[in-house]
């Protein structure tokens, strides 16, 4: 018997244009929670895709319990006791919870024409659920479930199989703080049952909270494998390992003096069932922050501010004039730009080149009188933007979808800068973005705020507090707290984000 449940040695995976894994090493002990860390594009997801049979490795070997296994398809991985909960858990929306849990393993027979019984599945699922202190309605179609419930379904699906190794790829990025705790309880429970867990995350605090060990990746190579002492993680050291250089400071300095002109004002905005009575003023020269947990309505607020969703009532005032936004096109024309929360779905057009993405929202700037695009002009604008934002790419012709997460986000921001808006709304600007890229994005935001009103809307408390000059907190669609950032603490914000009746309301 080997010391390790899983060993991956000398793993190489090449893509058309690059080497994503370059002799990567990974070792996992039985019953441990092992963090896999690295900046965007370091190779984490590729490693677990190799392990779970989504990609076929080009070289290297995988040993499970000391024995060499070959994994060439997801089915092979499942057979080897490896289950994966992908970052964005894939479910069948109209299927019930229990149908989703047992998707692919309805019965043990190989023959797909073998009969399956939904009754049995339901029964089995109920049994399974009993083992864990979780509360989900398994009879509802999953499109009616919340994010954590979907995540739980995905985890249960992984656990419904004989699982020795469970892979969780950024499981918390769509969860609220409370939900995160549910998940962590589950992780601890599994660990106690002897399941080994690979845990991918960009949140170093989570590492210290539940992980026993960690492996850090950089450029497709393993740069460190360290044990984790509970509660004692040296974030700076890890960040340094990940980046390969010292990170000076994450958040830039705050505004020196209060903002001047009120460029953008929300007056008593309401969206039935999502949020109510949202009001604030965003001023030139400062950053206004809105913090709320996922599902608190912040995403909808950002969309209403941009005319992407209809509001039920309320008023937007832009440059001192009331403005009824009819469409996103109207918003952009009025000088508003939104960096949407879901980068892949809403922000970027992954299949098109960087240059095309950057100019898309304001093509007027690069066309002649006949409406034809002047490519030279466009390219030079794009080149400038790439330089200005330090987007790491060999060429502006590269497709955005092929960039790493942080650089993708920079392109989305670049698209906004190109519109020359004077009101910028950033929603979840750093989800899935590594520390290095994060500080770059923060710097850009601060620069922008010099000539424009910047609003940051995020479920990352630290980020909002770190960036904004003034903040408000949303709980269940209502503002529960507003204050100047310098007078506010993290815990104050967090408390107001999870309950409506916390004390103290401070002046704006």
């Amino acid at each position: 018997m080997s010391e390790y449940r899983l060993e991956m040695k000398g793993i190489v995976k090449e893509f058309l244009s690059m080497r994503a894994l370059d002799n990567a090493e990974f070792r996992l002990k039985a019953g441990e929670v092992h963090a896999l860390l690295g900046i965007n594009g370091a190779g984490k997801s590729t490693l677990i895709k190799v392990l779970s049979g989504v990609y076929i490795k080009d070289a290297g070997e995988i040993l499970i319990d000391g024995e060499k296994v070959s994994i060439n398809s997801p089915a092979d991985a499942i057979k080897a006791g490896i289950s994966t909960v992908y970052q964005d858990p894939q479910v069948i929306p109209s299927f019930t919870g229990y149908e989703n849990i047992y998707l692919g393993s309805e019965n043990d027979k190989k023959n797909v024409l073998s009969p399956m019984s939904r009754k049995e599945l339901r029964q089995k699922a109920i049994e399974l659920l009993k083992e864990f202190p979780l509360d989900v309605d398994l009879d509802k179609p999953v499109y009616m479930l919340s994010a954590i419930e979907k995540e739980i379904i995905a985890v249960l699906r992984a656990l419904s199989k004989r699982t020795n190794i469970l892979i969780l790829d950024e499981p918390t990025s769509i969860l609220t703080e409370k939900e995160k705790q549910i998940l962590f309880d589950l992780v601890r429970l599994l660990k106690s049952k002897g399941v080994s867990i690979i845990y991918i995350t960009h949140h170093l605090d989570e590492v210290s909270e539940i992980c026993d060990a960690m492996t850090v990746f950089r450029n497709g190579q393993t740069v460190a494998q360290l044990p984790v002492e509970q509660g004692k993680v040296n974030s700076e050291l890890i960040a340094e390992l990940m980046l390969g250089k010292k990170l000076v400071q994450l958040y830039p300095h705050k505004a020196e003096k209060p903002g001047t002109d009120v460029l953008f004002e929300a007056q008593d905005l309401n969206l039935e069932g999502k949020f109510e009575h949202i009001s604030f003023q965003a001023k030139k020269g400062e950053i206004y922050g809105i913090f709320g947990l996922v599902g608190s309505g912040i995403d909808e607020i950002s969309k209403v501010l941009f005319g992407a969703m209809y509001k039920s009532s309320g008023q937007l005032v832009v440059h001192g004039k009331p403005l009824e936004l009819k469409s996103t096109a109207h918003a952009i024309k009025s000088g508003i730009y939104l960096v949407p929360g879901d980068r892949k779905a809403e922000g970027q057009i992954g299949g098109l080149p960087i240059a095309t993405n950057i100019t898309l929202a304001k093509l007027q700037r690069v066309i002649n009188k006949l409406g034809l695009v002047l490519r030279k002009k466009e390219n030079s604008y794009a080149e400038d933007m790439v330089k200005q934002l330090a987007i790491a790419t060999p060429s502006i012709k590269k497709k955005v979808g092929e960039l790493s997460g942080g650089n993708q986000q920079k392109v989305v921001i670049g698209k906004g800068l190109f519109t020359e808006a004077d009101i910028y709304i950033f929603t979840e600007p750093t989800v899935g973005v590594d520390v290095g890229a994060k500080s770059g994005i923060y710097e850009i935001m601060r620069q922008l705020s010099k000539d424009a009103a910047v609003i940051i809307i995020s479920s990352d408390c630290e980020e909002v507090l770190g960036m904004a000059d003034r903040v408000q907190v949303i709980y269940k669609g209502k503002c529960t707290f507003r204050s100047a950032a310098k007078d506010t603490t993290l815990s104050q914000m967090l408390v107001h984000a999870v309950t409506a009746d916390a004390p103290s309301e401070q002046a704006v």
Binding site: G53, V54, S73, P74, A75, A77, I78, T84, Y86, Q90, V91, I92, P93, S94, F95, E99, L103, G104, S105, E106, N107, V112, L113, S114, P115, M116, S117, R157, L271, E272, G273, K274, E300, K303, G307, A308, M309, Y310, S327, T328
Partner: protein
């Protein structure tokens, strides 16, 4: 209990009511042609061949793909059967051989779509081109009459058992089998799962390519069976039969998607769709309506059905939280 009662009033049941309504309207207009057991059975018999032909296409639509080849596979199967019978084979052997060749077309589609990643639209355009070319080549573009097909096929397509056409019973049996497969087996489960989220299915380790391949092959299988039955009904191989089934076939499947599963093609719905189309063809004939009337009526029903489903789905979803362009 209450839920069950309401089921009949739900939008996904609307098409069944339309079928009944259309039947009632025609019955008032031409009672002698509608209001008898025999007439009803005739309508069902007529609907059966189309129903069999598009049975497999249902699942192709369910997995989110499209099949343009089924009409020409049917035509090719009808010509092949006629050719083999003329060559001296018995009907049974000829039919089996023709069906086997029909299935080969399905296999070709699968190869192109799953292995070579062709969009199914273009793969089946190519396959239908091949099938039709072969069908025409066999008789140099001329239908092949078959007068010696024997009693087996005659009994299948014309005989009545207890007053019910055997053809309809056959169709019903095939539908029953497919219904069970769809509702009670893993295969059926995966068909709908792939239709909604193919990535999720792949991630669970299901060989979704294999399921999709089976779906295309099954579509070709039923198209070929339908073609053989058509050969029996028309007592001839018809190389250009395909054009008759193209629009009607899709209309049937899509109309069927409006019932029971709210916008998802399903075999029970397809059967209802085929029967509705049968009633329309029959009814519009006996009232002397012209070809174009039936075209307009079919199109209108289809668009109405789709609108009902889409609108009620949207209503379910609600307007709150929906992007302004959606």
């Amino acid at each position: 209990m209450n839920k069950k009662k309401l089921f009949f009033l739900r939008p996904e049941f609307a098409l069944v009511w339309i079928v009944i309504l259309v039947y009632a309207i025609f019955s008032v207009m031409r009672p002698e042609a509608f209001l008898s057991w025999e007439n009803l059975m005739e309508i069902l018999r007529q609907s059966s061949s189309t129903a069999v032909l598009v049975l497999g296409v249902t699942w192709v639509i369910s997995i989110g793909e499209i099949d343009n080849a089924f009409p020409d596979i049917a035509a090719c199967a009808s010509m092949l059967t006629a050719l083999f019978i003329r060559g001296g084979m018995s009907f049974g052997v000829a039919a089996l051989a023709a069906i086997a060749l029909g299935v080969a077309f399905g296999a070709l589609t699968s190869l192109l779509v799953i292995k070579f990643k062709f969009p199914s639209l273009i793969a089946t355009i190519a396959v239908s081109g091949i099938a039709k070319a072969i069908a025409c080549w066999i008789g140099k573009g001329i239908p092949i009459p078959v007068t010696t097909a024997g009693t087996l096929v005659y009994n299948i397509v014309w005989y009545k058992f207890l007053g019910i056409p055997v053809l309809f019973l056959l169709a019903l049996a095939l539908y029953a089998i497919c219904f069970v497969v769809q509702e009670k087996t893993k295969f059926g489960q995966y068909v709908y799962a792939i239709g909604e989220n193919p990535q999720a299915v792949r991630e669970t380790g299901v060989k979704s390519g294999r399921i999709m391949a089976m779906v295309f092959i099954v579509a070709a299988l039923f198209a070929a069976i339908g073609g053989v039955l058509m050969m029996g009904i028309m007592q001839s191989g018809q190389p250009k039969m395909g054009s008759s089934f193209f629009l009607d076939g899709f209309t049937v499947v899509f109309l069927g998607a409006v019932v029971f599963k709210m916008g998802k093609a399903n075999v029970a719905g397809t059967l209802i769709g085929a029967i509705l189309l049968g009633i329309l063809t029959y009814g519009l004939t006996v009232v002397g309506a012209s070809y174009f009337m039936s075209q307009i009526i079919k199109g209108t029903l289809l668009i109405l059905g789709v609108s009902v489903v889409t609108i009620s789905k949207n209503k379910q979803r609600g307007k709150v939280g929906v992007l302004t362009y959606e």
